[in-house]
Every structure is written in structure tokens, then in C-alpha cells.
Amino acid sequence: MIKLLLAGVPRTGLLMLAILLALFVALPFFVSDYLVTVLFLILYFAFVGQAWNIMMGFAGQLSLGHALYVGLGAYAAAALYVHFGISPWIGLWASMGISAVAGAIIGFLAFRFGVGGVYFAILTIAFAEFARIGFDHFTWVDGSSGFFLPVANYTENDLWNLRGSTRMFYYLMLGMTVAALLACHALLRSRAGYYWLAIRESPEAAQALGINIFKYKMYAVVLSAAMTSLAGVIFAFFYNNLFPEQIFHISRSIELILAPIIGGVGTLAGPLVGAFLLTALAEGLREVMLQLGVDVPGVKQVFYGICLLLVVMFLPDGVWPPLSKLLGLDRKTPDREG
């Protein structure tokens, strides 16, 4: 199993991964709570970026409404916990189920009726907006006034109910991010991965080759939706409050696709690299501004905008492809030159 998961990864890459993982495991012992939160955010964005990447990077379907799945996942698990005392570990199955169904509906409508490209992206936005407005009036989860999870001072981490310290969430998120990375690596090397590649490169050719493009696009959407909703569960239990206006908002959908775009769409390491660059630099910038005594709201957004601009202009494939070449991890290069 492990052999299969690691197949095709260059040895230097494995070594770097191991060092990186050790670093992520060890860091919380040495840094402040605030920095652990920043690290948590990096992993969070790496995870949702990875999930989004399945749809866009692997199968070539642009979603601008992934906040929908984060929100559905968050609300489902939180509501089950608050109303019925059901553990998020059980609730997350409901979250994944609901998001998968939502993804399947969007996918079915789009792919069955030939809605592609930007129109598909608009459809994903429409569904997220629909959910945002719908949840504003959904009294079972307190509508627009926001849904709150009970908060108390926890002396001990309760992993079963996800009540506890930032560090607990951090390690949970680390586990999920590593699992997502391994899963995506395996997916790319699976038959579905090759089908997705064909569909992304040329849907026409994929169809001519006898690939069931409807089925495999649906797989990508459903898988991506379910995975994204897991991040929603963590989001709900980490922040303890949910507002439809925030969680389903289009700015959230945009925010969560920045990391994979800046890191490199379709690459495995892209979401992680992008999340690290964006979050670490944005938080660093904020810190510097604070030290200088300048408090300008919206600095982060401007910074995101500049990053995106620079990447689009100078590194259209994202940061990771040229970086991996620099590190000698690009195993395709020698093959292709040979």
C-alpha cells in the first residue's frame, strides 16, 4: 500500500517531504499559539486547495463556488452536534454525503446539458449564492443571525467531540493534509487520473478514445465536493460560529482557490506551496505593519491581489513547476529531453 502510494516519487523528494513533515510535527512545540494558528491556516488552505485541484487541476472543471461545500460540510456537522450531540466524526459522513449530492446535482446539470467552461463556473457560483441566501433564512441553524457551537474553557482536548486547543486542530489538519496529498498522488496514478488528464487536455480527444467523460467528470466533482466538506467540518469546530454571509460568500470561494493557482494548478505540491506562500507572507506582512504602527484594513486582500498578479505575469504555471525544476524534483524533464 505504502509502496504504491510512494511509487514514482523521486528519492530527494521523499527526503524533503520527510523533513518537511518532521518540521510540521515539531514546530508547535517551539512556537506561540498565534503561530500555530497561522500554521493551521496554511494546512487548511493546502487541504481545500488540494480538494479543489481534483476538479480543476486534474479534470479541468473550473469551480468558483467551492465555498458551497465548505459551508454545507460545516453546517451539517455543526447542526448534528448542537441539536443531537452527534460527534463530528459521525457528522462528517453526513457532511460528505450532502456535499457529494450537491456536487452531483451541479455536475449532472452541467455535464448532461453541455454547460462548460465559464458557464460551468457561473453555475457553481449560482449554487453557492443560492445556499448563502437559503441559509440566511434557514431557522433550524439560526439563519442570518449565525449558528454558534457551545464554547467553554477546555482543560483537556476532547478529540471525539473536537473540543480543544488550537494544537489539537493543528495536528488534525496536518493529518488530513498529508492524507489528502497521498490520496491525490494515488488518484493521479490511477485509471481515473489518466482519464481526467485526457479530459483536461482535450475533451474531444478523450471522447474519441472511448472515455466516458460524463462519468469521470462526475467522479471529480463528487470527490472534490466531499473532500472540501471535510475542511468545512474542521472550520465549524475550530471557529465555533457560522454565518451564511461569510461561509458561503464568493470571496471564500475565491480565497480557497488562490493557493493552488499560485502554487500551480494540477500539481500535487502546488496547493501546499501556494498556501504556505500566501498565508505565511500575508500574516508576516500584517505583523510588520503592526510593528510599524500602520493599521490598514484590507492589506491582506491587496497582498493576495499582488501575488496573483505577479504569478499570472511571471509564472503562469504557478510557483511549484519552476521551483521543482530548481530542486531537481521534476522527473518529467529528463524523460522528455531524452
Partner: protein
């Protein structure tokens, strides 16, 4: 009889693309379908492949009805197509493109063996196996598209405008390859704008006009037909004889 089409009707919305089209392809036959732009040639190919769903009529392949089946099912039954415009995967290498062609259940097990055959058939592809396909010349890309189709181990191969955009020298090479595939036992449907060459190559041919078959016959018969000559070969009727 490997392929039999009866009264096929295809619509795009309200626009009729195929009007009661009937045709047949015999075992080992090379059948050309000629006609002007918009006559319905590509629509016919797409309807046979299952990419477009006909409103009426029947397509049977080796005696089994395949009308309405999904394109991936039809592909796996053994109808391959080389789609219009050389639809290769530009960022993959030649070899990876070929591997993609063998994803069909019917072709998976014999990937290596078939790749050997394709490289033997197109030695140029073997030389370029590690080159990214987007950097190949137009002719090489067309070879790759054909090679990739062969990877799926098709029986019947449909070519949709294979000579489009190729230099004259390459067009000759291409038609030689098509004829050779036919001689190796593949029945072929060839859709071409290059009417003269495809009629010379074909055992039989059909002329498609506004979605209808208006004429059919052996390649030679059609080549010598006055109407075909004036409409598609640019030869004046008076000057023909």
C-alpha cells in the same frame, strides 16, 4: 457487412444535419464519404461514434444495433475514430499519448504489443517517443492521432478530414498510411474534402449533400461522373469528355 446504417436522422435543435442516411461498409472495405462543407460528413461520423444521438434510424455494427449507445461503449466495441483537427494531448509525450489510446477495456492488456506495432507502422513516432506532442509537426501530429487510435485496437477506423491543414507531400504520405491500414484488414470510413484522392483510394463512396446521400457507387464510377466532376473536382461538364 461490418457496418450498416439505415435511415439515420440527426438534428441539432431544429436544424436537420442528417436526413434518412443509409449506407454500408463491407468487411475490409474502404468507403469514402465526400461532400461540401456543412453537408453533414462530420455529423455522420459523430453519430456513428455515439457522440451525437440520432433522432431516428439505426446503426448496426457486426449485426448488432449500436444506435443510442454511449460513445465509450461504441469505442470499446471496436469502432475507432481519428477526430477532425488532430486532437492530440499537446502537453503529453508521444508515448504518453499512445498509452492514453489504450485505456479502453478491450485494449488494456495488449498495450506494449500494440505500441510496438504502432512504432513499426510509424517509425517517426518511435524516434520522437519522448518528445512533447505539442512540439511535433502537423504531419507527425496526425500520425500520432492515428497511432493513438490504433492503440485502442479498433476494427473499423473512421477518419474525419485527416488531410486538413497538411502540406501536399504529407497528404500523400497520410493517404498511403490509410491505404496500408486498409490492406492490413481494417475497414475504413474516410471523410474528406480532398475528393479526388479519396475517390481514387476508395472501394466505394457516397456523396452527401445537405444531410442526404445523393449518390453512391464505386470510387471510379464517381470519379467519372459528370455531376461529381463539376461539383467537387472543378471540371466543367463540357470539358470532361
Amino acid at each position: 457487412m461490418i457496418l450498416k446504417i439505415e435511415n439515420l436522422d440527426l438534428y441539432y435543435g431544429d436544424a436537420q444535419a442528417l436526413d434518412r442516411v443509409s449506407l454500408q461498409v463491407g468487411d475490409g472495405e474502404l468507403v469514402a464519404i465526400v461532400g461540401a462543407n456543412g453537408a453533414g460528413k462530420s455529423s455522420l461520423i459523430r453519430a456513428i461514434a455515439g457522440i451525437e444521438k440520432p433522432r431516428g434510424g439505426r446503426v448496426s455494427f457486426r449485426g448488432e444495433t449500436i444506435t443510442g449507445l454511449s460513445s465509450y461503449v461504441i469505442c470499446n466495441r471496436g469502432i475507432g475514430q481519428v477526430a477532425e483537427g488532430r486532437q492530440i494531448f499537446p502537453s503529453l509525450t508521444v508515448q504518453e499519448n499512445l498509452e492514453m489510446g489504450a485505456l479502453l477495456p478491450r485494449a488494456r492488456d495488449k498495450l506494449r504489443e500494440q505500441m510496438g506495432k504502432v512504432y513499426e507502422f510509424f517509425p517517426r513516432l518511435a524516434e520522437r517517443r519522448n518528445q512533447v506532442a505539442g512540439t511535433l509537426s502537423g504531419g507527425e501530429q496526425q500520425m500520432l492521432a492515428i497511432g493513438r487510435c490504433l492503440m485502442g485496437q479498433p476494427d473499423l477506423i473512421m477518419f474525419d478530414e485527416p488531410s486538413l491543414g497538411l502540406a501536399p507531400a504529407l497528404v500523400q504520405e497520410l493517404f498511403r498510411a490509410i491505404r496500408e491500414l486498409n490492406q492490413r484488414g481494417h475497414p475504413i470510413i474516410l471523410v474528406e474534402q480532398n475528393v479526388a484522392v479519396s475517390l481514387k483510394l476508395a472501394n466505394r463512396a457516397y456523396v452527401l449533400e445537405n444531410g442526404r446521400i445523393v449518390m453512391s457507387g464505386t470510387g471510379t464510377e464517381l470519379l467519372n461522373d459528370d455531376r461529381v466532376r463539376s461539383a467537387y473536382l472543378g471540371v466543367e461538364q463540357s470539358a470532361a469528355h
